[in-house]
Symmetry: C2
Subunit: 401 residues, 2 copies
């Protein structure tokens, strides 16, 4: 298959999640991603779930995020490792990393130095607070959890009046990854005009904050500080999860026509003209009373029974699918969102596919995740004309694996 | 300022959130985004918070998402409205919309027809389940809430053993918007080689599902069905929010060195070698007992007091900022993540900025949101050479505003 980013080479000095998610998306689009790992490997190689025996090549966490990539081992604390990286920088298009702020500079790879080596290089860094910020922030250690809390997202996620909750996936890392891809693709487009690369200075806090646009403007425009509401919407009612006989069901009644239809289907036509619920403003005001009225009825049938009923009526609803249910969903299969990969040494495993559904050049999975250092020799020989004897020497000096 | 997407024209037939978020990101990067609205405007013009008087031009929700765009009103139910859209398609690069699946086709703008009009057109649609899926899914109505529940995300978000919770922002819409931008930029790069546009068939369910990569592989590899854990991590302990004297604080102890340091700072050095907590596997197993040990101590000081202590020790932590706190944060100001816009008829208002921090061509906010139909005349005269008399006639026939 023809791929959009064929011919684009990415040096991927990343670990764990934010930057690896970005380089994964670039690889899915066809870029040659060379994951440059330290001798003991990307930390994510140690993250559960393991598949079968526990070693550096069996982490499902790593396998899922590193499909389509190559792996080379390079000891960047060794001068000869730095030399090899310098040579690779000269022949690559993109460098991506998510070290702490000062790491690249301390290794001798500041942005000015990268530019000097390759003025066309697009350099993407992802950190908690960015490289260019106030000094007291630049050095703050930041995990996804820290960023979910710092950005404000955690303060609006969770049960009403209850404890704060984190989003169930590492959304701070993942959004930062998406935004880095946007920055990188934009920089590729611009490089065609300017001939020059640029620095994408991604910050996870900024990335999450930017997606709180409505909560932000609600505070700045009105002074109101938004709070968590469980599954409920602050502005539309009923628009939340209700308990069923065996589970939950989300019901999203976005307008008056749906309201009338929903009350009939629920077997409660008397609610339609109940003065407490006549229109959305009244329903918003009496949200809890209405939720009780609805819950007592939704509890009489299972989620599957309600689903069949709502489907027939084209009412907007959803079961609260767990991971088993969604992984077995026919839509997910039809859209190739769950892809079986034959992972050498591990066997067949299903991982999430690419959501970049382009008609001619869709993102896709075309190769399994690499074993640690699987491509060290191939890359050094093929791209840098290193000889067998030199490889042997580098290995003895523990520059490569 | 030089902008990456200068010279790229986007026809934006979108409403509310997913596609408008995408066109906002394109506009922030310099694309000319023409928001084509129906005579009564994008639905989001009716969404709170309103700023001052309530009308189509004072919704903070709309203003925040539509900065940098132009607005034209076009009645696409009228044949002359369709004619104008056809002409605009011929001179544009990108068409983006998030109608229901069949709407564009029923209006006479199927993908084959769009291609016929302009083979270079990049057409991005965003729906709940995509255009190309099983028929029983294609017609399903989907709001962000529905997608959060359907994708599995809601099943892993919320308090341990408690009710499911939605993510506090409309993350299903917003991720779909990011992914559409990635698809569009990729298609722009590919068009330079192929000369042809393509269809980006975005699906909100796919977009969210793809970000659950770890939960997906946990299920497919082990059969384990992940559940919500409040703020806790399934694999690292202590790594969650703890109560303080006045609020909460997130503490992220990612390795053994931090553990030792943390216990000292907490005033509980006896925990370091407590056999229940010696290393991460023990701490994972005894997570709740440990949380009690920690909470009883974190409750003795305020979040601000703990923050000062943890800052001095460089421990990874975060206050659980509310929207007021994060909007007033010096980092957010320094990074231009909160930008004051002078919105005609409304006054000065602060909205979230662009997280695409590129060194030469950053995303930025350069113009306020448009009034409904503000640019109808400008666009029709400037791009399509429509005369004043013709404009008058179109207005009388209610094709434009």
């Amino acid at each position: 298959m023809e791929r959009v980013l064929s011919g684009i080479r990415v040096l991927d000095l990343s670990h764990v999640l934010a930057a690896p998610y970005a380089s994964m998306m670039l690889a899915d689009l066809g870029a040659e991603v060379i994951h440059v790992e330290p001798p003991d490997g990307d930390d994510a190689r140690e993250y559960s779930p393991y598949i079968g025996k526990v070693d550096k090549n069996t982490s499902g966490y790593f396998i899922s995020l590193n499909r389509n990539k190559k792996s080379i081992v390079l000891n960047l604390r060794h001068e000869k490792g730095k030399q090899i990286l310098r040579q690779l920088i000269k022949i690559s298009d993109i460098l991506i990393e998510n070290f702490r702020n000062t790491t690249m500079e301390s290794l001798g790879f500041s942005w000015p130095e990268i530019q000097r080596l390759n003025p066309r290089m697009i350099y993407a860094s992802i950190t908690g607070f960015g490289h260019n910020t106030l000094p007291e922030y630049a050095s703050k250690p930041a995990y996804d959890m820290v960023v979910q809390a710092y950005s404000g997202l955690m303060s609006i996620t969770g049960p009403e009046g209850g404890e704060p909750c984190r989003v169930g996936n590492s959304i701070g890392d993942i959004l930062a990854g998406h935004q880095a891809v946007i920055g990188i693709l934009a920089a590729l487009l611009y490089r065609q005009k300017s001939g020059r690369g640029q620095h994408y200075d991604g910050a996870m806090v900024d990335g999450l904050f930017a997606t709180l646009e409505n909560a932000v403007v609600r505070y700045t425009a009105t002074g109101e500080v938004p709070e968590p509401l469980g599954t409920a919407s602050p502005s539309i009612t009923p628009f939340q999860a209700f308990p069923t006989k065996d589970n939950w069901i989300v019901i999203a009644i976005g307008n008056q026509k749906l309201w009338t239809q929903f009350c009939r289907v629920l077997g409660a036509p008397q609610l339609i003209d109940d003065p407490r619920f006549t229109a959305n403003p009244q329903r918003n005001k009496n949200r809890k009373i209405l939720a009780d009225e609805i819950s007592v009825r939704t509890k009489t049938k299972t989620t599957a029974e309600w689903s069949a009923i709502f489907d027939k009526e084209s009412l907007p609803y959803s079961p609260v699918n767990n991971m088993k249910e969604i992984c077995e969903d026919p839509h997910i299969k039809e859209r190739k969102m769950l892809v079986e990969v034959d992972q050498p040494g591990v066997g067949k495993i299903k991982i999430a596919g690419s959501p970049i559904h382009l008609s001619e050049t869709p993102g896709d999975i075309y190769s399994p995740a690499p074993r640690l250092g699987e491509h060290t020799e191939e890359v050094l020989k093929g791209l840098l004309n290193v000889t067998d004897a030199e490889i042997e020497a580098l290995r003895k000096e523990e520059v490569i694996n």
